[in-house]
Amino acid sequence: MKTPQISMRFDGFQLFSDIGIFVLSLLAAMLLVAGLVELIGGDALAALSAMVEGVVGSRQAIVETVIEATPTALCGLAFLIPFKAGFFNIGAQGHLQLGALAAVFVTTTFTLPAPLMIPLALVVSALAGMLLIAPSLVLKVKRGANEVTTTVMLNFVAIEFVLAMVTGPMQQPDSFFAESNLIPADYRLPVMVVHVGVFLAVAIIVAAGWILKHTVFGFRLDALGGNPSAAGALGMRTGATLAKAVLVAGAIGGIAGGIQALGVVFQVAEHWAKPWGFLGILAALMGRNPVGVIFAALLLAGLEIGGRNMQAMTGVPAALVFLLQSVPVLLLLAVRSTHFFKMMSLPGASR
């Protein structure tokens, strides 16, 4: 009976140290940014307060932050699930692009009652994401090709394909710009304070969290990620387990794009997507579990929205936001990886 108590104590300590390290990392990054602002002769205090103001200053700001966090959180989940099984999915940006394109294609081409059309569009988005991740999966399992490389390549394939579509067959007629038709008003996601895609995303993430923690499938992923050969030797069908995790990730990435298209941008165009796929990876590494990913995504989105306000109010370049987003993660991972903290948080904290 003693063992679980010890492990719980360790878990508690680990959680505390994780949040502690993170807060310190964020503070360090803010100090760095404040220093840079002072260096160029700006007012650091005004800049940082404008930033905070931009995130929590008004109801509208909070709504914007939540909407901005949604694709990041879903992409984070698309990284996290296969990551558990030892598969690095860097392709969320591509899944998102292709998923959005698919949703726009379906909604601007066909006519159906809206209650049928919106789910259909999201399903097609998910399929698009799965289609794009499938080659990486097959090559990894059958040929041993490194998935980092293939998913990065397929990102570019997806981005170029979207550009080819919006400058070719799917370009808005008479438009000078590389942009698709707008999704008809009927087929856009209904808005209840925020568009319903946000609630869908939260539902997906919470469900994923439950599945990873409380089902056999989640356990299998952990086993596979921990030691693939042991999992195989114990009779687990490792290929099938990995395939499920990876395809689900592709689907989630696709849905992230579908939600963004149906709920926020209503079209795909040149440069329509921010690097949500890559921010999602940062969110996944900070959050480490699906619910943690939500909070990490909110933080990253808050920095983005706050940074815009900072630039508008004080003229300090919003480019600094990239530093605020990445430096805490760098520090967090660096500290987490050092020998000392590995010793302190032994059980289940290999990364």
Binding site: N146, F156, F278, Q325, L330
Partner: protein, 299 residues
Amino acid sequence: MIFDPEFLLSALRIATPLMIVALGVLIAERAGVLFLGVEGVMLCGALFGILGAVYTGDPWMGMMCGLAAGVVAGLVSAALIVWIPTDQVVMGLAMNIAAIGVTSFIFRVTADDLQQMSPTIDWTVPAWATDNAVATFLFSVPPLAWLAIILYAVVWYVLFHSAPGLLLRSVGQSVKAANSAGLNVPWVRTVALAIAGGLSGLGGAALTVGWVRSFSDDITAGRGFIALAAVYFGRWYPRWTLFGCLLFGIGEALALRTQVLGGNPHLYLMIPYVLTVCVLAFAESGRAPREVGKPYEGR
């Protein structure tokens, strides 16, 4: 005729930065480091290259600044992924985002000085050569392309025909064996990353100083990843990597000519990526340096 000298020159011009960066990636990978932060390092080289060229008025000084910035960024990568060590993939991606922040910020601060274009690095064709088509072509090849080709010859020789090259490759193939043989794995990787960073920075500077002659936010736009693709395309051999870079250059040069060719430019831009995935699919696996991507924790 599509494949006229003009076309070849434009393909070569596009391929030159890729060639230099890919060489850096090749060295890092041969030492067993997955150098995903190359995009960020290249971006730093691109910015500091143009700053050096504008402030000193000499494009070659700009190239040196790019090189120096790359070495520093490479050493930072080494500190994070060799000495701590953290996960190579994750750290690389986070560093790319950080690099966008740093370079965009410095660019905003110095934007007033960067209004002008940097001085050109290209040779003018001397008067005696203008009548001779071959001589004209050779003088029109950007000097940096010649530099890149020389660098390939040097790296090929050092990697495959010298003792230090053998040490470097052995670290990438098996850290255990290298360690037993008395090699200091972290130091070999640190040196490899310094060289890789330097070449990536030089390649970034080749993009801005040697070609575009100005800077804009995120100007590399994924070229670091293309260089990575070229290395995988080339199965970690310099000559095939060089070929891969030229293929990307040709793809992009074709995309610039779609008015003549017909078709959608973005479909041409897609070809090299699809080809890389196909190469990964059909090439025998197991050729890759075995230790790529694995942190060395044997200290």
